[in-house]
């Protein structure tokens, strides 16, 4: 039995003034200091007694942390503390990266998405993070600020294990950079929860497809999965199949089978591994069919 505290345990709250100050705090107190943005995850974990930081450093007010910028020549820059709603509602995101807006909108509830941040969703490195598969197929980069300045981590290298990310000590996420997407692309994020509203993903599947004459099928697909492995993953074998031969119902099915094979889910209180695997196949198939239909309509 794990009874949570009836309230939040004691800690100090610091509103950060500069990035350097944050880095300094993180280096000096690696275990006692935690970063704070929307709080939707960390406060729950502290109440549950799973985290006991002495200090929360609020970094969401630092310059650029909630900025959304779109440059038609470069792509999208998302401040790490941008709320899910801000992302989902931003015109540049809706027009250019609808897949990201779709994924952000599947998170919990409207009021929670006003506080939950994209950066927080990614930094938790939960296998179930809804924006993670989108970030993977969008081939985004995570921009960390640390003792030696800024560095860029490709999304595919960011997730190392449940709760484990590629940050070095003293680093914090400041931005997510998403490159311009291939011309004519379409995407979908499909999520299965236990109920229709706001559940954590039992399975999440993001698919991005676009015309590419350099491959045999004339189309490239990127497929990423949430909640079915220790980290969010790309289903590379499925992607290879889709690039390698002309797209037919059979190809889509083979790719979905490959996505299922890529999944290594666990049995837990939410679902069995067996069901999750089957759902990877079903949702991948569905997402691929929908994206394929959109691609065909245009070409």
């Amino acid at each position: 039995m794990n009874l949570p505290h009836p309230g939040l345990p004691s800690f100090d709250y610091i509103r950060a003034q500069t990035l350097e100050q944050v880095v300094d705090l993180l280096l000096k107190h690696p275990t006692d200091v935690r970063l704070f943005m929307g709080g939707t995850d960390i406060l729950v974990q502290m109440r549950d007694g799973l985290l006991e930081p002495k200090t929360l450093v609020d970094v969401k007010h630092l310059p650029g942390m909630t900025t959304i910028e779109f440059d038609p020549d470069v792509g999208l820059r998302l401040g790490a503390a941008t709320s899910m709603n801000a992302v989902a509602q931003h015109q540049a995101v809706v027009e250019n990266y609808p897949l990201l807006a779709e994924a952000a909108n599947t998170v919990a509830s409207y009021q929670l998405r006003n506080r939950a941040t994209v950066g927080g969703n990614l930094c938790n490195a939960s296998p179930a993070a809804d924006t993670a598969p989108a970030i993977l197929v969008l081939e985004a980069s995570l921009i960390a600020f640390g003792p030696s300045g800024e560095r860029s981590i490709p999304a595919e290298k960011f997730f190392l294990g449940p709760g484990e990310s590629a940050f070095n000590q003293g680093e914090l996420l400041t931005r997510i950079d998403i490159p311009l997407l291939p011309k004519g692309c379409h995407g979908r994020y499909l999520k299965l929860g236990r109920n229709a509203g706001g559940d954590l993903a039992l399975v999440g599947v993001a698919v991005l497809g676009y015309p590419d004459e350099t491959v045999d099928s004339d189309y490239r697909f990127r497929v990423a999965l949430a909640s079915v492995a220790p980290t969010p993953i790309r289903a590379l074998k499925a992607e290879e199949i889709l690039a390698g031969k002309s797209i037919t119902d059979e190809t889509l099915q083979q790719a979905s089978d490959a996505a299922m094979d890529a999944a290594e889910p666990i049995d837990d209180v939410r679902a069995s591994a067996r069901y999750r695997k089957a759902m990877v196949r079903a949702l991948t198939r569905r997402a691929l069919s929908e994206v394929w239909a959109m691609l065909r309509e245009e070409n």
Partner: protein, 785 residues
């Protein structure tokens, strides 16, 4: 009631959908719930140390380190529990004395100046346990040699209609032996036998349990609690602490959802025991959502073994049932669920040969308690599926099968009681028609399958034979009325219906009636409990009597004043009028100050106060061996739900398109409120049917939070709910009314299961019908084929 026999013209506002009397308070944030009350600087907080083991002996409890923590005022342990407590079977201590029986059982309590200090101190309490083998399944629990949870079962105080078996884990065994089942099987053309399972679910009121107790320097107790049962709480706590009921006062503000979980006594007892240690200080005890899942009542689990036989023409000849209730660590309330499910074990069917055994089995699981439907949703899960299976075997339409076999007024039911007039057949016809029963409709996509199903139900108020109600009406100077009741407003609309009944009987405008709330056992009239869908009927009768009493006094006074016959007078719209003389006088001119006698002869009358009470007087017991008797219950409310749904065969998700819900409520005092109960019941029923299960592993809840115990949200509800009111009057109900609060969630789960079976040809025998379970069942069927 007179009103029924006189005519079917009902006095205003009976039968009118007036707006709720509590709505304005509730939409403005003005409505006060227990945790909203302000207690000032003296308030202390209690927190409880709970057993991490499902079954263990307490070897040692040491609170000294907790007491040493600054801010801690006192601590309690099992030694502070005086006597056993419990509604029908006194089988628990407020704080465990020698043994813990479920994960979450209270072992010690700490009182401190803040909730967080109390919490920290609880973590300093040292408890040494000797872990015992637990009972984790009722089938294990009934076996000889199973670990015994309550070796003292034979010593417990028990209601005379409960039959515990000392030396076993069986806290109650209820039997029905009617006709000759064994002989009947050979006459059946079709026999179906099947087991069904229902897991533990929880009520999930949005307001968790909260209680504040204050013991004064003279030892008297005031308890503020979120409670469906202020009077039962007072009584049970008085008995457990060997106190007079007069020395305990329970004040019960609005309740943020009950569904049975706030009936009887649960966490309130811990608050009282802790408050005794710090006289003069109110002590607040509120459960976190997680504690609510661990420690508040759960709905009992059920394993149902069922066998039904019928003739080829569709007539049901025999039914055999064994119910094994997973009743949890304490069965003080669950023993009567076991009984109710036994005497209702056939469902609303006419069956001449019945053999039923209902066993209440102690397990080291969370405490089973009353939950909306009181055993009926659980047993109808199996009853209504097996009836469909029988109809399938017979090749008979399921509506026709039910119309052929369902109970009607005048039939003898399972316990030998003659059924009062009921509108069940009408409910079946109307609900099935509302979803176009018999018409095939296409699914919305190739990978979806559509199906229709229905289920019928019955439920009687399950309570002691002599559970009573009382009420008073008191006029104020301006002729507004204070209406005293002891029944609670838990969302079901009781205050509104009570107001309508008083206004109609007194002949005053609705907005002149003001409920004297919150219910306060010091001032409010007695009410047994707000459970069993009994208030509209039982409390309603008391209100009508009280209002008639007041009205009679008024008419007598005015008749004397006018020198007329009271029978020629009436009260209309706040005035006394005479049909004969056409005299009229506003009530405000006489309800408090009386009226002068002619010729300056003094005064007549005085402040008007009317009293009423009601208690059923006709309930008889049932034979211990056969379960037969004249009248075991006051009445049955019956109904039918029909479901039109589709299933996504690729994911197993169920989408409810339409649910028609028809119930015979006798008379809808407020039709809109009745429909609201039906809608809420359908959604709660569907939620338990598809989503809900308190997952227990070795006795430990695995999903004790909203993250993993999902309930239906706004996007999970059926596309359309069609509530249908049927009115076949109840002879002793006010204007013919009977209750309908619980009933609408009873048939929902089996109706969905039957529709799923129609869609897929797959039967789910264990709730809930999660997408995973449905999907895997489809796979299994494909594998077989």
């Amino acid at each position: 009631m007179d009103a029924v026999s006189k005519s079917h013209v009902f006095p205003s506002p009976i039968g009118e959908s007036v707006t709720r009397v509590d709505a304005l308070e509730k939409v403005t944030g003005e409505a006060k719930f227990t945790d909203d009350l302000q207690f000032g600087a003296g308030l202390l907080y209690g927190q409880v140390v709970r057993s991490p083991h499902p079954h263990a002996i307490i070897k040692r409890v040491d609170v000294s380190r907790a007491l040493a923590l600054p801010g801690v005022r006192a601590a309690v342990t099992g030694e502070d529990s005086d006597d056993h407590i419990g509604l029908y079977l006194k089988d628990r201590y407020i704080f465990c004395r020698d043994r813990v029986r479920f994960v979450g059982d209270p072992v010690a309590g700490v009182i401190a100046v803040s909730e967080s200090i109390a919490d920290e101190a609880c973590r300093l309490v040292e408890v040494e346990y000797e872990v015992l083998e637990p009972v984790l399944d009722p089938l294990q629990g009934v076996q000889e040699g199973a670990p015994l949870l309550h070796p003292d079962l034979g010593e417990y105080v028990v209601a005379d209609f409960i039959d515990p078996k000392p030396g076993t884990n069986i806290a109650n065994h209820f039997k029905v032996r009617k006709g000759d089942v064994e002989a009947a099987w050979s006459k059946c053309d079709v026999i179906v036998e099947c087991d069904f399972r229902v897991p533990h679910v929880q009520h999930v009121p949005l307001e968790t349990h909260v209680a504040v107790a204050r013991v004064d320097q003279t030892g008297k107790i005031i308890l503020w609690s979120s409670s469906q049962s202020p009077f039962a709480q007072r009584n049970l706590i008085a008995e457990a602490l060997n106190m007079s009921q007069s020395d305990i006062r329970v004040i019960a503000p609005y309740v943020g959802g009950g569904f049975g979980s706030k009936a009887g006594v649960s966490v309130e007892g811990t608050a009282v025991v802790m408050a005794r240690k710090v006289p003069g200080h109110p002590v607040k005890m509120r459960l976190t959502r997680e504690e609510e899942f661990y420690c508040a009542f759960v709905r009992q689990g059920l394993i149902a073994r069922t066998k039904v036989g019928a003739k080829s023409d569709g007539e049901i000849l025999a039914m055999k049932t064994e119910y094994y209730w997973d009743a949890g660590a304490y069965t003080e309330y669950g023993v009567n669920i076991t009984r109710a499910s036994g005497y209702s074990s056939t469902g609303p069917y006419r069956i001449p040969n019945v053999h039923a055994d209902s066993y209440c089995v102690y397990t080291n699981h969370p405490v089973g308690g009353p939950m909306r439907g009181f055993g009926m949703p659980e047993i109808h899960w199996g009853i209504e599926q097996i009836m469909d299976m029988v109809a399938d075997e017979l090749g008979m339409d399921k509506v026709a099968f039910r119309l052929k076999n369902c109970l009607r007024g005048g039939d003898k039911n399972v316990t030998g009681m003659t059924m009062h007039p009921i509108g069940l057949a009408e409910c079946i016809e109307k609900a099935s028609k509302a979803i176009n029963w018999g018409e095939k409709a296409p699914a919305s996509a190739p990978h979806k399958r559509r199906g229709k199903g229905l289920a019928i139900m019955w439920k009687a108020p399950a309570m002691p034979p002599n559970a009573g109600s009382s009420a008073w009406v008191r006029f104020n100077e301006d002729a507004t009325v204070s209406l005293g009741i002891g029944g609670q407003e838990i969302g079901q609309g009781s205050f509104t219906v009570a107001t309508q009944m008083a206004a109609a009987t007194l002949g005053v405008p609705l907005d002149w009636i003001h409920i004297s709330a919150p219910v306060d056992t010091k001032y409010s009239p007695y009410e047994w409990q707000t459970v069993a869908s009994r208030l509209t009927w039982s409390m309603g009768n008391a209100i009508v009597q009280a209002a008639e009493d007041a009205r009679r006094q008024i008419l007598d006074i005015v008749a004397a004043y006018w020198d007329e016959d009271p029978n020629d007078l009436d009260v209309k719209d706040g005035q006394v009028i005479s049909f004969k003389s056409e005299n009229a006088i506003p009530l405000k001119d006489m309800v408090v100050y009386g009226l002068p006698l002619p010729d300056d002869q003094g005064w007549h009358g005085g402040p008007i106060i009317g009293h009423g009470n009601f208690m059923p007087t006709y309930i008889t017991s049932l034979d211990n061996e056969t379960g037969q008797g004249q009248r075991a219950v006051v009445h049955y409310t019956t109904g039918c739900q029909a479901v039109d749904l589709e299933v996504d065969t690729e994911t197993g998700q169920i989408h409810l398109l339409r649910v028609a819900s028809a119930f015979d409520v006798g008379k809808a005092i407020n039709p809109d409120q009745v429909r609201a109960q039906m809608e809420g019941g359908v959604v709660q029923g569907a939620s338990t049917a598809i989503l809900e299960c308190l997952q227990l592993k070795d006795g430990v809840p695995q999903n004790p939070s909203f993250t993993d115990y999902r309930i239906a949200t706004s996007v999970d509800i059926p596309d359309e709910i069609i509530p249908i009111i049927v009115e076949v009057p109840q002879d002793d109900g006010p204007w013919g009314a009977r209750g309908v609060g619980e009933h609408p969630m009873v048939p929902t789960a089996p109706a969905i299961a039957n529709a799923v079976a129609a869609a897929l040809g797959v039967r789910i025998l264990e709730m809930p019908m999660t997408p995973e379970k449905v999907f895997l069942a489809i796979q299994e069927k494909l594998g077989e084929a």
